[in-house]
Symmetry: C2
Subunit: 220 residues, 2 copies
DNA sequence: AATAGGTACCGTGTTTTCACGGTTTTTTGG
DNA sequence: CCAAAAAACCGTGAAAACACGGTACCTATT
């Protein structure tokens, strides 16, 4: 079986990568690129003005509207669009969050072109692409699921205030200053921090910063 | 004047971007891509086995051997190769360090393809490409040069121990643990930290982590 | 031999961060 | 409407981080 006339759309803020990717995809038999977007919001707008793709390639780390949000939006509004997540990082949390958000596959930006082609074909023909990387991470997540208080259980439950807190924690502000900015008491902030340390299996603010960057919560 | 037969080589650990970039460059009149490398060390090896390019496109953040080191090596051993730095971040320090290391231009990964072409042509024909971004950052750096103890003066003087310290500071280790690992006293580590805070115009360990990531000192 | 610069080291004190074990208030679901 | 989450808040103490102002030693230069 040979795929044909697959309409692809790409969202990534790195225009050079995006454009190169588009060029590459256009050179593949059976694929065309109908539009490119700088970020999720741009993607949604072009969806309305340009048309509906069969496959969406979504970067996770994007300004304005990131890969998680975009994926969630597409899942709810255009469930037929197959989503392939594109990321620089191979961490478990990001993979699980992205799959939960509706992605049918997760590939790294250092993927080999030949493997990339396989991923595209797989998503179109089989409906998914679960690489060894993804499988391994998932197996690991499952195996640690029944550990007490394990992160996976609460992982995707980061609420808006926690996200806001994390973003501020990725600056040189003290917790006192963060509390003021969020109109909360320092103790509450302490609580957020303690909860997050527990949930995310980290011990220090530096760990929180690294987590935030790897998961696209902050863009630096 | 029209450029012709310009041999380009690329070093970037993101194969997808690199490959797309290579495809894009090959589609441009007068340019060819003679090899692609995963990182600086790979680049140097291919230099010996494949041949000498006219232009090197170097990512800053790479494993094994980063853009600064690679650029420095090329400057010393192959001064005729024109170097164009490729980065995700637009921070002043990275730009200055890269230009000091021998780069003839500095472009961001979110550059428009048309602008990218201009950059290539400019480096080949005029010997350099200083975008508005680079110029602005340089002007700013110059204007603050005579401020007392300004960072630019000491900026590129990060020595090996400081680099090692920074890398460890980007983990969840305490300074005590870092001191033990580096076989130094905690006071010495305190001194490193204080010096770096002063040099880099930061106030907290979080600031140090962000600096390290933006400047490719650590790869996450 | 004096000077300067870099590296390693140190003491003291303050502020911030983190850990622990709570209470009150608001939302939410049966 | 009432119980159970959850969100916000709090006190205390210990540990870590940060600020400041130093000393000792080594090397290279003049």
């Amino acid at each position: 079986m040979q795929v044909s006339n697959i309409r692809v759309a790409i969202a990534d803020d790195h225009k050079l990568l995006r454009n190169g990717l588009a060029t590459h995809i256009r050179s593949l038999d059976g694929y065309s690129v109908i539009f490119e977007a700088d970020h999720g919001k741009d993607f949604v707008e072009k969806l309305l003005s340009v048309g509906i793709p069969d496959l969406a390639l979504l970067d996770i780390n994007m300004p304005v509207m990131d890969g998680y949000e975009t994926s969630m939006y597409l899942k709810n509004n255009y469930p037929d669009i197959k989503i392939l997540a594109l990321s620089m990082y191979d961490n478990e949390e990001a993979i699980i969050r992205m799959l939960k958000s509706g992605a049918k596959g997760y590939i790294l930006k250092d993927i080999e072109p030949v493997e990339f082609k396989i991923a595209l074909d797989s998503v179109i023909m089989k409906g998914f692409f679960y690489s060894e990387l993804v499988t391994n991470k998932l197996v690991h997540a499952i195996n640690t699921l029944d550990e007490p208080d394990h992160k996976v259980r609460n992982l995707l439950a980061l609420n808006d205030r926690e996200i806001e807190f994390i973003k501020l924690a990725c600056t040189e502000m003290t917790y006192k200053e963060i509390a003021d900015k969020m109109f909360l008491s320092v103790r509450t902030i302490d609580g957020y921090r303690d909860d997050l340390f527990e949930k995310l299996n980290i011990k220090t603010r530096v760990g929180l910063v690294l987590y935030a960057i790897k998961n696209g919560i902050v863009t630096i």
